[in-house]
Amino acid sequence: MLAEKYPNEVKKILAKYPPERKQSAVMPLLHLAQLEAGFVDRHAVVEIAGICGITETDVAEIIGFYTLYHDAPEGKLRLQVCTDISCALRGADEFLAKVCERLGIQPGGTTPDGLVTVEAVMCLAACDKAPMFQVQGPDGIAYHENMTVDKTMEFIETARKEVK
């Protein structure tokens, strides 16, 4: 339960918006709800609907619309490689293909130990630092820029030891 686990954060989020506009809190609350498990489960949907005074359907449609929200569990870390035009001009597609090859998965797939899911995503506003990816995980989102395949594998190995 969010209200129990993050009482201060929930309070802070609600304080950002006019009291009669609680619906505005739905996106930050979803970010919060997703932190631990990497996806938003039904309990969270019901709780957030209650906090915001909207229906569960209203919450579900937000999850569906925005790419950063997930309604099903995947790897603990989502490694999201930008393959958009600027990055692709600097070899992002090949980079993604090689990372996937080294991990033995397809883009969109998850390593057998459930640690990383590798996905291709649209521009992340880091076009001058390709190849790059962001990692969506228990601590939020972090960018990893000017990457090489080796550096990426190192990152994953370190994470494998830490995130268990």
Partner: protein, 427 residues
């Protein structure tokens, strides 16, 4: 010349509140609140010729002037959604010179009579939002935000709001929907946000870079600002340079700098020393410019770029050398827009989907000539019918690539070596 916006490049710790203050920080805001009327602030900005840096280039002071005085409250929203492929300037400002940006937000709020301002950041800017939250807290502590500022009756609070992965939320009405906790789908206009914006109240939406200019304009005056740049494009601009260049990055330059200077003088030339083939001046939304000498020597300001059949937009300059074919380029842009179409209006929702199928057929070398013609027709058919500019944007590169680089649409072009990889949500 020293930097006006990317000031951290000259003053390394400008993001620290003491350093910022030591370098004149918050003097402009204080001056505005303690010695100017809101209307005077708006007038200075109007006179400076500052135009929006978010893409449309709308004069900022005029926009502020649209806020009616008979509907309250008012809001200021900073657009930090920065999702146009090839654009990465706002992020650098917020990461490294956040206080100047926040001071700009504060001045805009004062000028328009807003007591609350929101910074809407794309969801991926999670760490950037954390920086801003920290800076906002410091400003509150130092008395630059909060109640009764500088001993006046003026109160202001700034809040961050994170998006969650949707390019369309850069469109200002979709952005407002998103703050309201809804799907980020654009509203029909009129009414414009200046009349009915956030929560139905008068709202100014400005880009991060636009707002970051404001403290300097208030401090140094409209004439000083006008003296930089060109007649129709006053001041400086951050050019986000990416793609096939040796030194991609942000370059803060006066308007009127040529493409050649940007690419060769600042960007260190083209990757592998190959010739530039095409330029996209406004990211993926851009028409593609044939990079001939005339184009390279064109000054980058709003009016001059238009003579090349393109827009300067947010000045996200993507350089493409002759190693790739344009069918591959629009394959990328179509994928992007198909992924980002919000689905609200028919031509964009169906058109981007259809274009994607067509460009994939072309990538497979199937019936390339006829399919290219159909692709061109479909793109044309979308134009002037969409509810918001995204749908129109999605066609710009498509029609111009086919018209300006017809030779690149043939059965045996380079595409095969780099097919676009599908993946992620909404794939």
């Amino acid at each position: 010349m020293s930097h006006l916006l990317l000031r951290h490049r000259d003053i390394p710790d400008i993001g620290e509140i003491d350093v910022y203050k030591k370098n004149g920080g918050f003097e402009a805001f204080k001056k505005a609140v303690t010695s100017m009327k809101p209307q005077e602030v708006t007038d200075v900005v109007k006179a400076s010729g500052l135009r929006g840096r978010g893409g449309a280039g709308f004069p900022t002071g005029i926009k502020w002037g649209f806020i009616p005085g008979n509907i309250w409250p008012h809001y200021v929203v900073a657009n930090a959604d920065e999702s146009e492929p090839g654009t990465f300037k706002d992020r650098e400002i917020m990461e490294s010179n956040p206080l100047q940006f926040l001071e700009g937000v504060a001045i805009a709020a004062f000028a328009t009579g807003a007591n609350a301002a929101y910074v809407y950041l794309r969801g991926e800017f999670w760490p950037v939002a954390a920086i801003l939250d920290e800076k906002i807290a410091e400003m509150e502590k130092a008395g630059f935000l909060g109640d009764k500022l500088f001993g006046t009756d003026y109160s202001l609070r700034i809040y961050t709001h994170l998006g969650a992965g949707a390019y369309i939320c850069g469109e200002e009405t979709a952005l407002l929907e998103s703050i309201e906790g809804k799907r980020g789908q654009p509203r029909i206009r009129p009414p414009f946000p200046a009349v009915a914006g956030l929560y139905g109240k008068p709202t100014v939406v400005n880009n991060v870079e636009t707002l970051t200019n404001v403290p300097l304009i208030v401090e140094k005056g409209a004439d000083w600002y006008r003296s930089l740049g060109t007649a129709d494009s006053a001041g400086v601009k951050i050019f986000s340079l990416s793609g096939h260049v040796n030194k991609p990055g942000n370059y803060e330059l006066p308007f009127g700098t040529t493409f050649r200077e940007l690419i060769y003088t600042y960007g260190g030339g083209v990757t592998d020393g190959r010739p530039v083939k095409a330029i996209m001046s406004a990211g993926a939304s851009s028409a593609v410019i044939v990079a001939d000498d005339k184009a390279l020597d064109t000054p980058m300001d709003y009016a001059s770029v238009r003579t090349l059949g393109a827009d300067l937009g947010s000045a996200s300059v993507i350089v493409i050398n002759d190693s790739v074919d344009m069918d591959w380029v629009i394959n990328k842009t179509i994928h992007f827009f198909k992924h980002e179409s919000c689905g609200k209006c028919t031509p964009c929702r169906e058109g981007t989907y259809w274009m994607l199928h067509l460009i994939e057929r072309i990538a497979l070398g199937e019936d390339v000539k006829a399919t290219t013609e159909l692709l061109h027709a479909v793109a044309k058919q979308m134009q002037n019918k969409c509810l918001c500019p995204l749908g129109e944007f999605s066609t710009m590169a498509v029609t111009t690539a086919i018209e300006r680089f017809p030779a690149d649409f043939k059965a045996s072009s380079s595409r095969a070596k780099t097919g676009t990889i599908e993946g992620g949500k909404h794939g």
